[in-house]
Every structure is written in structure tokens, then in C-alpha cells.
């Protein structure tokens, strides 16, 4: 698996050359390489190429290596500088190694959250709105006072399947006092389970 392999860099390194991009540019490149899906690395390399003053092929290798390195760190859950530094080959340029390790450490938490947010899952609840109404009359009943709840849930389909255009569907549901109590009972049991698990 790409994420599990040790990433490799081909010396001499474009990020060390006199035309090397600034630290901020390197930081941004690392972020883009992490966030990019493997299939999108090609286009990313093409965009990065001019700023790096390298050949198209070298740009592809660089982007690919950065992608693998950053994904590997997140996959393994590495948090210490030593663990990250030892991923680099021995003859690797010292300053660049330190810079990359620093950038990675800065971004680890955000990247981990990003990985969790985009992992496969059932559709996710993104919003919830509700309203309590009283039904006062209808064509079949002249007078009544029936309280009822209207609930609207906004649910986003699996991000992994929708790419950059997540589909959000709305589910509108009416609850009576009885069905609301059923719901509360179920939710209460979840809450109890959560406490039980948290106390273990």
C-alpha cells in the first residue's frame, strides 16, 4: 500500500536548489499534496512545476513523494519529531528534512481530522431544525388542539462518493407526543451506553 511504503526522494532535491520556493510555498505544497487524492496528483504536479523550476517528471515524483510521506505519517499516527525524521534517507539534505518535519508536525492534527471527516461512512447528519405546531381544525374536524412536532433533518450523503459536490437531502418528519417519547427513550438509552463506555 502506498501509504505504508517508505517514501523516497531522488537527490539532488528540487526543494534545495537555488531556485527553491519559499518556506510558505513548501508548506502550501505539503498541504496540497496531503489533501489531494492519488488520482489528482498529476494535475497538481503540473500546477506546481513552474514554481519549482524542474522538469515535469521531477515535479510528479516530488508531489507523489510528498503525498506518500504526509499520508504515511497520518496513517501511522506519528506525533514525535524523531519518528518523522527517521523516515528520510540518511543522505537527505539536513535543513530541508527539518523544515518538512516541522511543517508536518504543525499540520498533523488538522490532517488527522481531515482524514476522519472524509473516511467512508453512512450519510451524516449536518443540520436539524424543528417546530412545534398546534393543529386547530381541518376539513374533517372543526375544533381540536393537537400539538405536533415538525422535524427537519439535513443529511449529507457520503463525502467520498460525492467528491466536491456533496448531496444534502432533507427529511421532514412529524412526531406526535407518543412518537416523540419513543424517540426520547431510544436516545436516553444511547446516552446511558455512552456513559457506561466512557467510564470503562
Amino acid at each position: 500500500r502506498a501509504a505504508a511504503e517508505r517514501p523516497r526522494f531522488a537527490p539532488p532535491h528540487p526543494l534545495c536548489s537555488p531556485q527553491a520556493p519559499s518556506k510558505d510555498a513548501v508548506r502550501q505544497l505539503c498541504q496540497e499534496c496531503f489533501s489531494s487524492a492519488p488520482a489528482a496528483l498529476g494535475p497538481l504536479a503540473q500546477l506546481a512545476c513552474p514554481g519549482l523550476a524542474v522538469s515535469a517528471e521531477e515535479a510528479e515524483q516530488l508531489v507523489s513523494a510528498l503525498h506518500n510521506l504526509t499520508r504515511h505519517v497520518v496513517y501511522r499516527g506519528l506525533t514525535r519529531a524523531e519518528d518523522i525524521l527517521c523516515l528520510f534517507p540518511e543522505n537527505f539534505h539536513q535543513n530541508l528534512k527539518n523544515l518538512l518535519a516541522k511543517i508536518i508536525l504543525e499540520n498533523i492534527t488538522a490532517w488527522r481530522n481531515e482524514a476522519q471527516a472524509s473516511q467512508i461512512s453512512l450519510p451524516r447528519l449536518v443540520d436539524m431544525d424543528w417546530r412545534v405546531d398546534i393543529k386547530t381544525s381541518s376539513d374533517s374536524i372543526i375544533r381540536m388542539a393537537v400539538p405536533t412536532c415538525l422535524l427537519q433533518l439535513k443529511i449529507q450523503e457520503d463525502a467520498a462518493l460525492c467528491g466536491n459536490n456533496p448531496v444534502v437531502s432533507a427529511l421532514t418528519v412529524e412526531l406526535s407526543k407518543e412518537t416523540l417519547d419513543t424517540m426520547l427513550e431510544g436516545l436516553g438509552r444511547i446516552r446511558d451506553q455512552l456513559s457506561a463506555v466512557a467510564n470503562k
Binding site: 436539524m128 381540536m144 433533518l153 421532514t172 436516545l187
Partner: protein, 187 residues
């Protein structure tokens, strides 16, 4: 749709009519078209859920209109014949039988439930899980709640909707429901 009715074996058609009548009588929250469709498909008949849902809607409309107009069995069968549709004979037989047995019991009931304009909540199933590992993070330990809501839409069809929540989302979800309940109490 009359063509598709032709495809449904008599016993399944009878079951569908039964469920529809029971729904109109408020004995069950809705018609489980998806589940019925699966059984029909397993028996070798090629019909999809959409078509079955349309047929269920038509039958529901037929029975509820007949109830509102207090039609006798013979009047109902005559109306069916004169409507120009060519229902298969076995279908007419089932409709006649079901109406005879249970049609009169469909009261135009004085009930607030009659006015469904949105889906009605039927049931909630839940699961508390912990994601241990994924292709992006070898060690996750990420807790989440999965909920499946069973809803009867305005036409009486039952559908399930499943989704996930993070723990903070769940806590907010629970809190909102408690608020709803307390508002419902005081109103």
C-alpha cells in the same frame, strides 16, 4: 399501471390490499412496499419498487374514495369496470373480497392523524460504534452513533433513512429532542 398489476401474483396482491386497508384504518402506520417488493421479486416476478409504490397509491386512493362515498361492494366493482381500465380478473376478485370483508370498517375517522402532509415518524433503531482503523488512519478509536429512522410518507409508504452522528452531534440531537418534548408539554 394496470399492466403492472397484471404481473403481481394474486396472493401478493391480496396482501398489498390488506396492508392498504389496515393503513387506512390506522391499524398500521404504513405499507411496507420495499419489503413486499423484495418478496415478490424473490418469487421470480420482475417488478420494481417504484411501480409497486404507484400501484399502492392508486389502490389507496381507490379505497379511500370508495369509503368517503360509502360505496357498496357492487358499486365499487361497477365503478372499476366503467373506469375503462382493464384490471385483470384476479385483481378485481381480490378487491371485491377485501372490500366486502373490511371496506365498511373504514370510518371517515375523526382523527388528527388523517391530515398527514409530511412523513410520520414510525420507529428509530440505533447503534453505538467505534471506528478502530481505516485506510487513512491505522489507529482511530472514533466513536459515532448510527441511527435508522423509519418514516411513513404521506401516501403511506414506509421507508428507512440511516445516518451517522459524532458524539457531540448526538448530545445536541438529544438536547433538542428534550426541548421539543418540554415545549410539547407546556403547549
Amino acid at each position: 399501471a394496470a399492466d403492472k398489476i397484471r404481473l403481481i401474483p394474486q396472493d401478493f396482491f391480496a396482501e398489498l390490499c390488506e396492508q392498504i386497508i389496515q393503513h387506512l384504518n390506522h391499524k398500521i402506520p404504513g405499507v411496507n412496499t420495499a419489503e413486499l417488493c423484495q418478496r415478490i421479486q424473490t418469487s421470480g416476478v420482475e417488478i420494481n419498487v417504484g411501480d409497486l409504490a404507484k400501484i399502492a397509491n392508486i389502490l389507496s386512493f381507490l379505497f379511500s374514495t370508495a369509503a368517503r362515498n360509502n360505496l357498496s361492494t357492487e358499486e365499487l366493482v361497477t365503478t372499476l369496470g366503467s373506469a375503462g381500465s382493464t384490471l385483470p380478473k384476479h385483481a378485481v376478485q381480490v378487491i371485491r373480497h377485501v372490500w366486502n370483508e373490511q371496506g365498511k370498517a373504514i370510518a371517515v375517522s375523526e382523527d388528527a392523524r388523517n391530515m398527514a402532509t409530511v412523513g410520520q415518524f414510525v420507529d428509530m433503531k440505533w447503534k453505538l460504534g467505534v471506528a478502530m482503523s481505516s485506510d487513512t488512519c491505522r489507529s482511530l478509536k472514533y466513536p459515532y452513533v448510527t441511527v435508522t429512522l423509519t418514516v411513513a410518507d404521506p401516501s403511506g409508504q414506509i421507508t428507512d433513512k440511516s445516518f451517522e452522528m459524532t458524539i457531540p452531534q448526538f448530545k445536541n440531537f438529544f438536547r433538542q429532542f428534550k426541548e421539543m418534548a418540554s415545549v410539547l408539554e407546556t403547549v
